[in-house]
Amino acid sequence: MNATDIDALSVEHAAVRRQAGAWERVRKNWSVRIGGVAMAFLLLVALAAPWLGTVDPTLFDAASRDLRPGETGEITTLDGETLEHRFVMGSDSFGRDIFSRVVYGTRISLLVGFSSAVVALVFGILLGLSAGYLRRLDGPLMRVMDGVMAIPAILLAIALVALWKASLLTVIVAIAIPEIPRVTRLVRSLVLTIREEPYVEAAVALGTPTPKIMFGHILPNTIAPLLVQGTYICAAAILVEAILSFLGVGLPPDIPTWGNIMAEGRVQFIAYPHNVFFPGIFLAVTVLAVNILGDGLRDTLDPRMARRL
């Protein structure tokens, strides 16, 4: 019997793997859908802030102090014009519109969340790839990372903000730095597994230059777990930003962030709980949405989970 006969009769059907593509699985996952829609909504709120019936969040009017949600009062623009304004979420002790401040605060929170995640991921990926693939750098790099991890994240962030001038960039960097070692560890552990894969060895044997192996072969295979990790960092960063603002070590109090609004509302929480309540709801919903999205991504992108579904 020769090879062609065998060809004709063979049943090389073993792996007609019509597995639904990863993207399709992601789209069909309910956690991803719910978290994604919630995030899209918040993003829309942040982008459309000026057109949602808001006023400049820094405007205040002594005549409209401590209004309850739904009450109508007046507010003076920078030009000295006085407008009739309905305070949907009430006003604070300066007579500022809480609704406008919360909506504009969404911008800060999302910006801080995304940017911190991106910064932490970019540096974590670079460091983790180097530590995992270039064995000489492994020891020194990881010992430095261990050192950074030994400092409590909030404390480190407070110290970093205190060192520099409080600005959006400072806060983002201060939140991202404590996250970098965690990403580095994750990337390094992934790289250590992937570098043993035959396809990486094949690339070595093909004479592929080291940077191309690191970024062309190894990095793409770490993306799925990193995406998941990114969402968790994003959620944590939004929380930490609120905490920093609340403690008064974050962004300056005139910038409307949820933490700032809550910090100012805290003093008269008993009399006017809406000052804390509304930014708190937004904060909780945002963090929940990001985490649900992350859980959904983990379930669909992590192959070990996929097999169980």
């Binding site: 065998i6 063979s10 090389e12 044997a205 093909l206 004479g207 793409p220």
Partner: protein
């Protein structure tokens, strides 16, 4: 004959929607008699393991019995309640798995794991249980039973672990034993011992055995009767001699013809051909331990001296841990050799630093064992094939043209270059890997167990492809394998390795006809089905 132990009647097991076919098992009927070994043979995807899981009531949630009956001593298991199945398992039917390490709980002593079975299913007191455990451990021929039952699985060898699994399966004297590829993960000499043990115990206990395997050598060794499965359907059933000697169905005939014979081919050996690769006293030592402990050195390969000539294939044969893959990886410089020379066209590359190997990479290429892991899942196969040429400055258009020619050479559709690896079957992926290795037009092709993960019919095709490539491209080939049949078919010269050393080295015909070293002889003696002429030769 008395009533069969196991009766499977028109069994149909459905697959979830979206699978490549509607049913994993379609209307399969067979019986296993008392004291009989029935081998279920088939390639991957034939549904043989699904049948075993169905009988044990261990089907994954996505699969369910859609029709037919499974009767154990007359009792229908397909309709039995989960509680009833639980009490039948281990007591009336039990199972041996492929991978003894994962079948045992790593944090429980072996004795405790056997005891658990006794505690669940018998009313024996502690002393009686202990006596029974020691009995059964003795029965599976484990040395020093007292020590073995007090050991954790990782302290035992693969063969010993499989004996513990067998002891666990037989401790309650079940009427039916299901063995799902029980020797596939073991070395050939261990495999021979385990097969002997299963046959011996089966004869003594009189159990019916449903033995699942893909290996016709094993079938020839152990089966009384054979059932051949193809894509969930039973194509042929009969006694061993009927099926192996006079197969009725085309598919069975094709499978048996695909099994390589044990007699080396008769191709003349050109001793004048130029030497492409020579190793001199090549060695690789791994240092264990760390900063604080003293380093313990393990020699994975020692004093390996080999030669491969143009147009010829050198086979390195050995069991796991023999150092054969280490040698291959040293030669491709995926690991750094710790001693000796590697001469490519007379130039020593063993001492060269990793950064200075660029020109060498073009001349030596490698094909790996696992077709599912040797291609980057996130890159199109075309990118994989042109990667090498691009690294050496070949323009993209030219590299792509070369890739198309190579795909034709390895019998793949050149239009599938822009597909992703998961769209290919195992055999096709191995063809892609071969095309990738050939894209640099190497002088030496190293193949590390390239057909071990493939079904026998696909294996035959890929082996034929290797032979064709060597002929057409006049390559020197280094072929690493644990399978003597494969070695007999492809190799011109053979080196047998054991514990890091080459114990026998010579022309394939001589080594196979007159093995001189004791280890080689034991290896040949252990090859399953050696007395059967497979391969249509």
């Amino acid at each position: 004959m008395s009533a069969p132990v196991l009766e499977v009647e028109r069994l149909t097991i459905g697959l979830p929607p979206g699978a490549d076919r509607a049913e994993a098992v379609a209307g399969v009927s067979f019986t296993v008699g008392r004291g009989e070994i029935l081998c279920l043979v088939g390639e991957s995807g034939s549904g043989k393991s699904v049948i075993a899981q169905g009988v044990m009531g261990l089907l994954p949630k996505t699969l369910r019995v859609a029709g037919g009956a499974i009767r154990l001593d007359g009792e229908d298991l397909a309709r039995a309640a989960p509680g009833r199945l639980r009490s039948l398992r281990a007591a009336r039917m039990s199972m041996i798995f492929q991978e003894p390490m994962t079948a045992l709980n790593p944090v429980m002593r072996c004795g405790e794991q056997i005891e658990e079975v006794l505690r669940e299913h018998t009313a024996l007191d502690a002393a009686a249980r202990r006596a029974r455990i020691l009995d059964i451990v003795r029965e599976v021929h484990l040395p020093d039973p007292e020590r073995i039952v007090a050991s954790y699985p990782h302290q035992l060898s693969g063969g010993q672990r499989q004996r513990i699994v067998i002891a666990m399966a037989l401790v309650l004297d079940p009427a039916l034993l299901i063995a799902d590829e029980p020797t596939t993960a073991l070395d050939v000499t261990t495999q021979a011992q385990i097969l002997k043990l299963i046959a011996e115990l089966q004869a003594r206990h009189g159990a019916g055995v449903l033995f699942i395997t893909h290996d016709f050598g094993v079938v020839a060794e152990i089966a009384h009767r054979v059932a051949v499965l193809r894509q969930g359907e039973l194509v042929e059933i009969g006694t061993r001699d009927e099926v192996l000697r006079r197969p009725q169905h085309d598919y069975t005939r094709m499978l048996i013809a695909s099994v390589p014979g044990m007699i080396p081919h008769e191709r003349p050996l050109d001793v004048q051909a130029p030497v492409i690769l020579a190793t001199r006293a090549l060695g690789k030592t791994y240092a264990a331990g760390g900063w604080f402990r003293k380093r313990a050195a393990v020699a994975a390969a020692e004093d390996v001296s080999l030669e491969v000539r143009r147009g010829q294939t050198l086979g390195i044969v050995g069991e796991s841990g023999s150092g054969k893959s280490t040698v291959a990886r040293c030669i491709v410089r995926l690991v750094d050799p710790s001693a000796g020379e590697i001469l490519i066209d007379g130039e020593d590359i063993a001492a060269r630093r990793l950064g200075t190997l660029h020109d060498f990479r073009r001349r030596v290429q490698i094909v790996f064992q696992d077709p599912y892991r040797s291609l980057n899942p996130r890159r199109r196969v075309g990118e994989a094939v042109i990667e090498g040429p691009l690294n050496f400055g070949v323009p993209r258009a030219e590299a792509l043209a070369r890739a198309r020619r190579l795909f034709e050479l390895v019998r793949l559709d050149p239009n599938s270059l822009d597909r992703y690896p998961h769209e290919f079957s195992g055999g096709q992926r191995q063809r892609v890997s071969i095309a990738r290795a050939l894209a640099l037009e190497p002088e030496l092709l190293v193949a590390d167990e390239p057909v071990s993960a493939l079904d026998v019919s696909v294996q035959a095709q890929v082996l034929a492809l290797f032979a064709e490539i060597r002929e057409r491209l006049r390559l020197a080939m280094l072929f690493i394998t644990h399978d003597l049949r494969v070695a007999a078919q492809v190799c011109d010269t053979v080196a047998v390795m054991s514990q890091g050393r080459v114990v026998e080295y010579g022309p394939a015909r001589e080594v196979f006809a007159h093995p001189r070293h004791e280890y080689t002889r034991s290896l040949f003696a252990a090859a399953p089905g050696r007395s059967w002429a497979f391969g249509g030769s």
